[in-house]
Amino acid sequence: MAAETLSTTTDRRKAPVLDVTPPRPRGALEDPVWVKALVMAAGLGFLALFILLPLLAVFAEALRRGVGAYWEALVEPDAWSAIVLTLTVAAIAVPANLVFGVCAAWAIAKHRFPGKALLLTLIDLPFSVSPVISGLVYVLLFGAHGLLGPVLREYDIQIIFAVPGLVLATVFITFPFVARELIPLMQAQGNDEEEAAITLGASGWQTFSRVTLPNIKWGLLYGVLLCNARAMGEFGAVSVVSGHIRGETNTMPLHVEILYNEYNFVAAFAVASLLALLAIVTLVAKSLLELRYGAELAATRRH
């Protein structure tokens, strides 16, 4: 009885407060409409001006003299060889980083060993160092006057100003993408499932292929997509080691620069449009992955 009386008094005291509630209830974090509109307009306007407009400009410029000129610029031998070279470099660098990245992530996330912090720092190095310096490091190592230059010359192996140099520089630049994507994911998943697999009699390889790999596959795919986009688009490091030999060591980004410097704008933008297209495809694929496997990727979403 006493409790009832108490609750009635509380209700009566609350009543006037309820009367002054605003007509449209609004959450503590909800802002007035004009604030929302302003912030949104600022964001979208900035996006349109600095990202969407340049992107459209690339395609507009590329198609300025019609589809015929656009097509010709792409099948012209030097352009074509740049496209093939870019695809070749990516085809070597991406699988290499897929394997190295999985190995590094597995070692770091699932094991305890001395020097783990150092390894983590090293993985981040390509992100923190300017790409030009990455390229220079390889020139210093493998160039004609480099550390290993005399040995390489003796065996007639060409690394700098040749495809191997381009691959090495690209591998270096894109190394963190896969590993960085996988480490937090694997750390969050822990070792329990692997231990369970081992107590059930699975061998090391079976444990990896049937338990570890399926658990990281979407994160892995996501990392590979980002890695691939960067491998094809990389300019700085590749520029240093390439030597810009037309039809031989020019990748697409380098070829774009050369054409542009020659005032051949249509051709430059035609090749550039291919790179832009690649970026768009990557973004769409990434969004689709996120839409479908959001929960699995949530732990890793930083890009």
């Binding site: 499932e193 369970a196 107590t199 061998s203 079976q206 338990v211 658990n215």
Partner: protein, 350 residues
């Protein structure tokens, strides 16, 4: 199958998790490893299972040395605290995993695997959920899948790490009874880790109580409850109020009361007595052979009445049956007489 641990030691850096433990587990026994967190119980279990390897000592399964044997070669089934189900596989595939992997030649025919998995799912009452994924199951269901998966390879020893730790009270109780039944039905030697003394006492044939990496006592639930070998064991198993006392010949003097000692009496001298809530008798007012106390709090909990008593500055907890506690007035502030039926007493050195 019997398990024999001799001087098993495990260190993590400077920390000694398990310190020279000797323990023997009989064939078909259901043994509980009980202790607070950090007592080394999980590490001990993982060493039996082959997930950690001992730094010292030896381990024999069925008389054969298995100290450095790989987990599967030991013939153990392991159930993990957080189930560790393969999240990308259905319930069926989880249970079938142990039948598909390993160096099995020739491979088991699909029909044999299906029969065995369905039989196990029947056993854990999850047959209709065979095609579900782990994240579509409740905690109790996941734990049963984990158990079916561990039993699929017909282990000689079943090891469970805090099997019911993450479940709510009701499911926990059901699963306990059910594990007991399965153990009886299959007769597989079973060791489980728990920090819940009630669970250990209710479920196990024998209980091994660990503290700071050492064994404090091994015995049947009745033995460890009635005759706690150390103050730690007594305290951990719900020792009740901790009171200073003087040990005399055959009894203890607690606050002027002459109290029988239920465990093995220590040498005469000052000591510590543990009095369980059930061993406290309340009398109205003050009587000659009772200590004076004052009721400070009363809390009815289900069929029981829990009381906090102030006994000369010491807080003592008592439990009475709500229906039969008689006509003693127990409202807070009332003075009552207290009689202690028995106590576990330990010397100060122990």
């Amino acid at each position: 199958m019997s398990i024999q641990l001799t001087g098993i030691t495990k260190r993590f850096g400077a920390f000694t998790a398990v310190d020279a433990v000797d323990l023997s587990i009989e064939t078909g026994e259901l043994m509980a490893l009980l202790g607070p967190s950090g007592s080394g119980k999980t590490t001990l279990l993982r060493m039996i299972g082959g997930l950690e390897f001992a730094d010292g000592g030896s381990l024999a399964i069925d008389g054969v040395d298995a100290t450095v044997e790989e987990p599967h070669a030991r013939g153990v089934g392991f159930v993990f605290q957080h189930y560790a189900l393969f999240r990308h596989m259905t319930v069926f595939e989880n249970v079938a995993f142990g039948l598909r992997v390993g160096k099995r030649k020739p491979k088991l025919p699909e029909q044999v695997i299906a029969d065995r998995v369905h039989h196990l799912l029947e056993l854990v009452q999850l047959r209709p959920l065979a095609q579900r994924y782990p994240n579509q199951l409740s905690g109790g269901q996941r734990q049963r899948v984990a158990l079916a998966r561990a039993l699929a390879t017909e282990p000689r020893v079943l090891l469970l790490d805090e099997p019911f730790g993450a479940l709510d009270a009701k499911v926990r109780k059901e699963l306990r009874r059910w594990l007991r039944d399965i153990h009886k039905g299959m007769g597989v030697t079973t060791v489980f880790v728990t920090h819940d003394q009630e669970e250990a006492l209710e479920l196990a044939d024998r209980v091994c109580i660990l503290h700071q990496g050492r064994i404090e006592q091994v015995g049947t639930p009745a033995e460890v409850y009635d005759m706690p070998a150390s103050a730690f064991v007594c305290d951990f198993l719900g020792g009740g109020a901790k009171l200073p006392c003087t040990v005399l010949n055959g009894f203890a003097d607690i606050a002027g009361l002459r109290v029988p000692i239920s465990n093995r009496p220590p040498a005469p001298g000052p000591g510590i007595a543990y009095v369980r809530p059930h061993d406290i008798e309340l009398l109205p007012g003050s009587e000659a052979d009772a200590a004076a106390a004052r009721v400070t709090a009363v809390q009815p909990v289900g069929p029981e009445l829990r009381l906090d008593l102030d006994m000369g500055g010491q807080v003592v907890e008592a439990v009475l049956d709500r229906r039969t506690h008689g006509h003693v007035d127990l409202s807070p502030g009332t003075a009552v007489g207290v009689r202690l039926k028995r106590a576990n007493v330990y010397g100060l050195g122990a």
